[in-house]
């Protein structure tokens, strides 16, 4: 219900087209890569999904994360730009419910983006690798995992946007965080838990114990950031 309202608030801001274009752009990455260098990948070991993700996921994840950062900035920009947030605060609605509705909206949009990307992966698998229908299990696992690992990034990014009234500040912090994520060494488990770095993880080739560790860590991060949002609202109210 509230998600629908948040979606309505984002009318004419280009949120939906931006996620659509972003999804298509990220989906084009494996297709273009295969079209240009098919012979390089066709000789590689592994399943088609594994090869495709290994080759392209870094760029695709980068686009996804940037899209999330831009989307969160925009969602709170509409609240702050014409002072609508003040009106919202003087209505009997919890600020936290606005936040979580926005989060749910972004999660849905990200799912939509991942589905487009999964579609591209299926296309590439069939077109170049002549894969059988057995790829679907692996595909679902991979993208389901990618979806879970995107969640902390969405919540933290939204938290940053909610904290700052000026869009360039939240965008700036978001961009710095994305950059930090690209600098972090990939072999350290602890560092790769940085919320902007988790979306870069790939399911295939990761052992099951590791996967479980990531899922638990992601759940913990979600709880932490949600609490942080609640605390932030309290503190803001205190100093208002």
């Amino acid at each position: 219900m509230n998600v629908i309202m948040e979606f309505k608030k984002a009318k004419r801001t280009g949120l939906l087209p931006a996620f659509l274009c972003g999804g298509i752009l990220a989906a084009a990455v494996p297709a273009v890569n295969m079209a240009a260098r098919a012979e390089l990948y066709l000789t590689q070991q592994g399943t088609p999904v594994q090869i495709l993700l290994n080759a392209n996921w870094q760029v695709m994840a980068m686009l996804n994360v940037l899209l999330v950062v831009a989307g969160t900035c925009l969602l709170y920009h509409t609240e702050y730009a014409d002072n609508a947030m003040q009106k919202m605060k003087s209505l009997p609605v919890r600020e936290s419910s606005i936040f979580f509705s926005k989060a749910a909206l972004l999660i849905l949009l990200s799912l939509f983006v991942l589905i487009i990307e999964a579609g591209a992966t299926v296309f590439c698998s069939f077109h170049w690798f002549e894969a059988g229908t057995d790829i679907y299990t692996e595909l679902c696992n991979s993208y389901g995992y990618a979806f879970l690992l995107m969640l902390p990034c969405i919540i933290l990014s939204l938290l940053i946007s909610a904290a700052s009234k000026n869009m360039w500040v939240s965008l700036g912090i978001g961009v710095v965080c994305v950059f930090t994520a690209t600098l972090l060494p990939t072999d350290s488990f602890l560092l790769s838990l940085f919320p902007f770095a988790t979306p870069f993880q790939i399911f295939t080739g990761t052992d099951t114990v590791r996967v479980m560790h990531y899922i638990c860590a992601v759940a913990a991060e979600l709880v932490i950031f949600s609490l942080a949002e609640l605390i932030m609202i309290k503190i803001r109210r205190y100093f208002a």
């Binding site: 608030k9 801001t13 014409d82 002072n83 003040q86 919202m88 003087s90 209505l91 205190y238």
Partner: protein, 251 residues
């Protein structure tokens, strides 16, 4: 029976006190005029009622409910319009009201009613950012009046309106208590305006409450203090001037 009552309500910032120890008494079903020059603390007081800013001292009750314990309940009963209109620029006037309607859980018809009351019906599909100043002001008023809440807090509602609009809004505010059985707290820096709307007034200057009571009482008091009484505007100016001199503030 007072619907809004404050006890020594205070708001101080690091370097100045915006509202200082004020005791307001707003009776149910009245139009209460809140008067004072720019920066007297009218908006700050109203913001405190809505929980938009936190009092640093004192307390207040609205319809028997205390802040901050019953903040949500207070907000459910208060329609508000504070300072510059607050809206979503990317949405039309109708869509803006639709959002408020949903949050308040009002029937669908309340949007068109609110638009009708403020006279925005023919512009309801235009984007709020393309509205003229007066239309934005009307949209803000519609957001306060929607669903006719029992208490209305209106901060300088006639700012930016043309003379016809000012007259319309004044007449509207005047008629609200009778029509919808509600209480209105309206602020202005023009006594002439308050005079036409309010039953009771409170005069604020530099965060202090100089006077509270009926207009007639104000006239009697002023006469006994030797202030001019033939024109209320002069009475008001003399009152503020005397207070400023007492505080050593330059005119």
């Amino acid at each position: 029976m007072y619907i809004i009552e404050t006890k020594k309500l205070t708001k101080s910032y690091a370097d100045f006190t915006a509202v200082s120890d004020i005791n307001l008494h707003i009776p149910k079903g009245a139009v209460y005029g809140f008067l004072g020059p720019n920066g007297a603390g009218k908006s700050t007081t109203m913001k405190m009622f809505l929980g938009l800013t936190k009092p640093t001292g004192g307390s207040f009750t609205i319809n028997g409910k205390k802040y901050p314990e019953n903040r949500m309940d207070i907000l459910k009963e208060v329609g508000s319009f504070i300072e510059a209109p607050a809206f979503y620029g990317n949405l039309s006037g109708e869509e803006n009201l639709e959002i408020i309607r949903k949050i308040l859980g009002l029937p669908k018809s309340s949007v068109s009613e609110a638009l009708e009351i403020v006279g925005l019906t023919q512009f309801k599909r235009r984007l709020a950012k393309q509205y003229s100043l007066g239309m934005k002001q009307r949209l803000g008023l519609a957001g306060a009046l929607i669903g006719t809440p029992p208490i209305l807090i209106l901060d300088e509602p006639t700012n930016g309106l043309d003379p016809v609009g000012i007259h319309e809004i004044r007449t509207l505010i005047r008629s609200l208590p009778e029509k919808y059985d509600c209480t209105v707290l309206v602020s202005s820096h023009l006594l002439s305006e308050i005079e036409l709307m309010a039953d009771r007034i409170g005069i604020l200057n530099h965060g202090h409450l100089l006077y509270e009571g009926t207009l007639d009482q104000l006239k009697t008091d002023a006469a006994s203090n030797g202030y001019p009484t033939d024109n209320l505007e002069d009475t008001f100016l003399a009152l503020i001037d005397a207070d400023n001199q007492e505080r050593g503030v330059l005119k």
